[in-house]
Symmetry: C2
Subunit: 354 residues, 2 copies
Amino acid sequence: MNRTLVISIDAMGGDHGPSVTVPALALAAKAMPASTRFLVHGDAAALDPEFARHPALKAQVEVRHTDKVIASDEKPAVALRRGKGSSMWNAVEAVKAGEAVAAVSSGNTGGLMAISKLILRMSVDVDRPCLVASWPGAKGLTTVLDVGANIDCDAERLVEFAIMGEAFHRAFHGVAKPTVGLVNVGSEDVKGHEEVRLAHAILRSGKFDLDYRGFIEGDDLSKNTVDVAVTDGFTGNIMLKAAEGTGRYVEAELRAALTSSLITTAGALLARSGLRKFGQKLNPPRAAPLLGLNGVVVKSHGGAKAQDFADAILMAASLSQSDFATEVEKNMTRLTAAVAESSAPAADGAATVD
Amino acid sequence: MNRTLVISIDAMGGDHGPSVTVPALALAAKAMPASTRFLVHGDAAALDPEFARHPALKAQVEVRHTDKVIASDEKPAVALRRGKGSSMWNAVEAVKAGEAVAAVSSGNTGGLMAISKLILRMSVDVDRPCLVASWPGAKGLTTVLDVGANIDCDAERLVEFAIMGEAFHRAFHGVAKPTVGLVNVGSEDVKGHEEVRLAHAILRSGKFDLDYRGFIEGDDLSKNTVDVAVTDGFTGNIMLKAAEGTGRYVEAELRAALTSSLITTAGALLARSGLRKFGQKLNPPRAAPLLGLNGVVVKSHGGAKAQDFADAILMAASLSQSDFATEVEKNMTRLTAAVAESSAPAADGAATVD
């Protein structure tokens, strides 16, 4: 990489604003080339005192002042109507203008999706930027998408998710040939509704540069059976929240069980280093790319701490420096050709025959 | 109850057959009136030695010999074609013939659903008998349905699940007025796909004897936000398996973390009574009714132990002695009326207006 890497930052998003985003920049900068630059969008009056504590950053940062902020509970439609000139809006617009290669925000998800879609436009045919989750399991992290943006998905949308998820997993995790699975209620070809069966037939056709492994089930996620798990936004959102809820419940029960008597409490105290390790392993990364846009946008969690937001910046950097965009484009062209080839009746036939 | 309660038992199903089902009968009999009778279907040569160990049961049991058994990996279509005369078939047929008020089997789920549907027929308009799960949470168990039988569900099917799930929860858990929620990707009326929004509008109309609380999300299950959570069989199966997988993963990680060093192992040993309690609380009941049939059929887990299978027998007894059937029928009549009242365009309108 010879060219200077410029990342655009919405410094006002999330629960903590500059008190988290500025220390995060300092953390991220240490892990990136010294030539990296940050365009930081937000309220200069709030930002300057934070930057004063990180003088080493000065040469890498350009603050673009705005006092307009999108509230964390703003509806997407309102964010669109009134968001122009806000720190989030300006962060994304810098990518559109070619001033930065990627934008990072921990502002509200719906607003960020809507603004990113309006400014950058979609590069694929999905309705809204696709939400990605990293699902922790025994062997590492499975990339899961869509986890909530696109509620109604036909077979082509599911194939698009597979293409984007695979390219993202390679770009971010450095796996040369990620494996891909389609979430269903069983592993046989006849299982599931028409959309998943048709997507299965298209993915199995071998027309894409994908290591497609077929159907997987809900319990395959924690087993990391595949690197990339594809599902519609309705199912993905519900299964993710159901599993998160179960994880929290199990942790709470565990705490209660371990402090139910003096003896067990003493045991828990002795075991606490083990338990701490356990807690860390269960907490997945809190950064997620919005996939399907003409440009890189990474969403950090609203409650992100400095290290979380720094991780989101690093994710944005690796995505923008990877072949993600060209790989997706190549496979999308193949998808268009595959769909054109198989006229509507043939496509229906594929679903039934398989 | 003056009349004798007769339960029909498939004694050959599950991984262990009579060595589990007979001791289970002994356990169940202790918790039931002495007048209870069991019609036990299976291989007399395998059953007799088991019953010899439980002489107290003798007066309550009638063995109906058959040496035909449906294998645990039999496809439903094959079970239907070749199942006639098997222990599972005969157990269900005794309900149809009026010889027993309920049937219990730990045989294969697909086979039991197919045979039950063929013999007993559906009492409601769903495609297949509805599968129910009991979801453990902080405050108890949430009844979740459908968890895998009916993949494509329109709004009316979802309302039928609500009606049946609510009646089941009252009959089995003794809750006078169970609360009901519809699983979705958000709590606002505009969220989700058309089927859930229309089901929401029908349920909110107040035409049923239901305490309907609106949309819930995936993480509401472990919180027991409602007593009964309604979803289609595709989403339900995937969210259940995803949560089960997460639960197993968390337990495995916990065990690994607690035995990672001598100190933590010592701590885990001290804490073991707390940990045991924790494990028990996470294991939900392994019995599930097949809802929507003209008759009570309860499925026990294939790997059921004697207490699990005894619990399934008790569930069958409480369902058959409850007002489940009449309550479902009453609300189903109201549903038919509500759907007839709102002609197709009005129903569409409801989804949009709401």
